[in-house]
Symmetry: C2
Subunit: 338 residues, 2 copies
């Protein structure tokens, strides 16, 4: 076993930091390291935190971390910034967080920003969670800003997903919020001391009631699963988890204990009747599918001469061939036609 | 040729509406219809409009549409809502727009929302643009809310992309904005009569200056291109397009003429020295790559028995096998190993 791997498994902070850099940069050989770590994963509880901008997610993550520390848990934080490297991709509130939590060896914070490849960020996040998991952190928090498919992909690796809202976010933000509401296991109305908090709670409740009176606890987002997962018993009433709505004021700690309680309830729910195993299966199915897709593409592009592809693209551009026919032509060239 | 296709080509509104429904629902046979339309595309100028929530994009699209109508252009609008069907996915401002522009045969408005498949939305949008293009609309506007990879994928089909900002959007929104700044061909500070407009313009200018003093006009977003595109001469100074920053008050039409002018300048820039052709090639390369990826996955899943895959997933879950090894095992089963 390499020194790096044994360092990570021993919880050595420098080894963990170096391994996370490998995960971000994906040099040759990183797959082998991840293979070596993989048998040592599966122990951390992974909490996803997402929501519309301006809801105070970073402050909430801070407050949660302190509360878990008081309970003797080691906490790893991965702050994912799906914005571009264009402005350097600084994580909001990161400096504040660093100041608050630095010097505590039971906390490890890592920011991850896209390096020109948004698609790879979800994979890097998943791998980073595994590094912290293997490194002995009992709680791993994945925080992301925003509300698009990226964020859904990123928090899909979580066991419990918190969707954070706040009063007075406006209509436009409400619409964005809808997209991530369905991935929420726990809804948090933060900044609940502000005017309008009661209406925000009521609005969320209405959305939940209208949309999904309850949902299958093992849902892993709304991408269609393509890989088969071992069949499970049909859901019955008790198999559903109705996301609770909690009010917090993260800046002064109000409601944080109740939030920890709700996360714990959700964990109990999943750990009952094989639900966690079923959810993990679905998550692995998605991961394998994504990796398979990447590999297939790479191999096809190795087999088809690049000037053959250029020529097809030019024919499409001249409108002599449509994109679908061009794809069929490539598939024929790799002997993979229907 | 089917009645539907000849109807679309004749600009018949009912035929166009029916064809757009096909594009959204993807029934068997829709590929054949798109193949028949494809040779008749490539005439419309496609304008993407995106930006953070609350910036007044819908009002801006309205104002632009009226201005193009006054110039005798027919305008098709595709309003894409990347939020989920959870709340019905209503497009913001859609009713206002409908009221303003309805009754004008030179305008065609279509809302598209995700139907449980965010990945498919970019493809459906691209196909919808082709339907309106073949239907004779000289200007096609694709409007989308938000700032994630979805929106980038969606506006990637555009020739000219407007990124809309507004004063007083807050720090958190600034960070999200960064992700889409680099896809902007024209930056619009809307609601420019509000306090802080000057600062917003200055902040955008600083971000542009810091990040990219100028960028290659043929860029099509920041996904790495995998398919080869015919090589082009090395860029020289005049081959760069520096995104202008324009101030508008869309609600009263202020600045709209200048915006139309800026879009026209960008079009002139692209139509010079083969840049448009190069950009189209890159867009087609991405489209072909995406379709290829989908096809490859479908075919592999047809060839590998589903219980073999289930068994692999269970081994991963037991941590006896890591996801990467599981993928290699599937590739071996389809005779596609390295």
């Amino acid at each position: 076993m390499s020194d790096l791997i044994s360092g990570v498994l021993a919880g050595n902070r420098r080894a963990i930091a170096r391994m996370l850099t490998q995960v971000e940069n994906q040099p040759a050989g990183v797959d082998g390291l991840l293979t070596a770590l993989f048998p040592h994963t599966g122990h951390a509880w992974v909490i996803g935190v997402t929501g519309a901008p301006g809801t105070g997610k970073s402050t909430l993550v801070n407050a949660l971390t302190k509360a878990y520390r008081e309970r003797g848990q080691q906490v790893g934080i991965i702050a994912v910034d799906p914005t571009s490297p264009f402005t350097g991709g600084a994580i909001l509130g990161d400096r504040i967080r660093m100041r608050d939590l630095s010097g505590d060896d039971g906390v490890f914070i890592r920011s991850m920003a896209t390096r020109g490849n948004l698609g790879g960020l979800a994979r890097a996040t998943r791998d980073a969670v595994r590094v912290l998991d293997a490194g002995g952190f009992q709680i791993v928090i994945v925080e992301t800003v925003g509300a698009g498919q990226n964020e859904i992909d990123i928090v899909r690796a979580a066991h419990t997903t918190l969707v954070v809202d706040a009063p007075g976010m406006g209509d436009d933000v409400q619409a964005i919020k809808a997209g991530i509401l369905e991935i929420a296991d726990v809804l948090v109305v933060n900044k609940a001391d502000r005017p309008g908090a009661t209406q925000t709670v009521r609005a969320l409740k209405t959305m939940l009631d209208l949309g999904h009176p309850a949902r299958l606890s093992t849902s892993v987002g709304h991408h269609g699963r393509m890989l088969p997962v071992a069949s499970v018993p049909a859901p019955n009433g008790s198999d559903f988890w109705l996301p609770p709505i909690l009010s917090t004021v993260a800046s002064d700690g109000t409601g944080i204990d109740a939030l920890i309680e709700a996360i714990s309830d959700h964990r109990d729910h999943l750990e009952h009747a094989g639900r966690l195993a079923q959810m993990e299966q679905a998550q692995f199915a998605i991961e394998i599918q994504e990796r398979l897709r990447d590999h297939l593409m790479q191999r096809v592009l190795q087999q088809v001469p690049s000037d053959a592809i250029s020529s097809l693209i030019e024919q499409v551009q001249a409108r002599h061939l449509d994109p679908q026919r061009a794809v069929e032509s490539i598939l024929e060239q790799v002997g993979f036609a229907g």
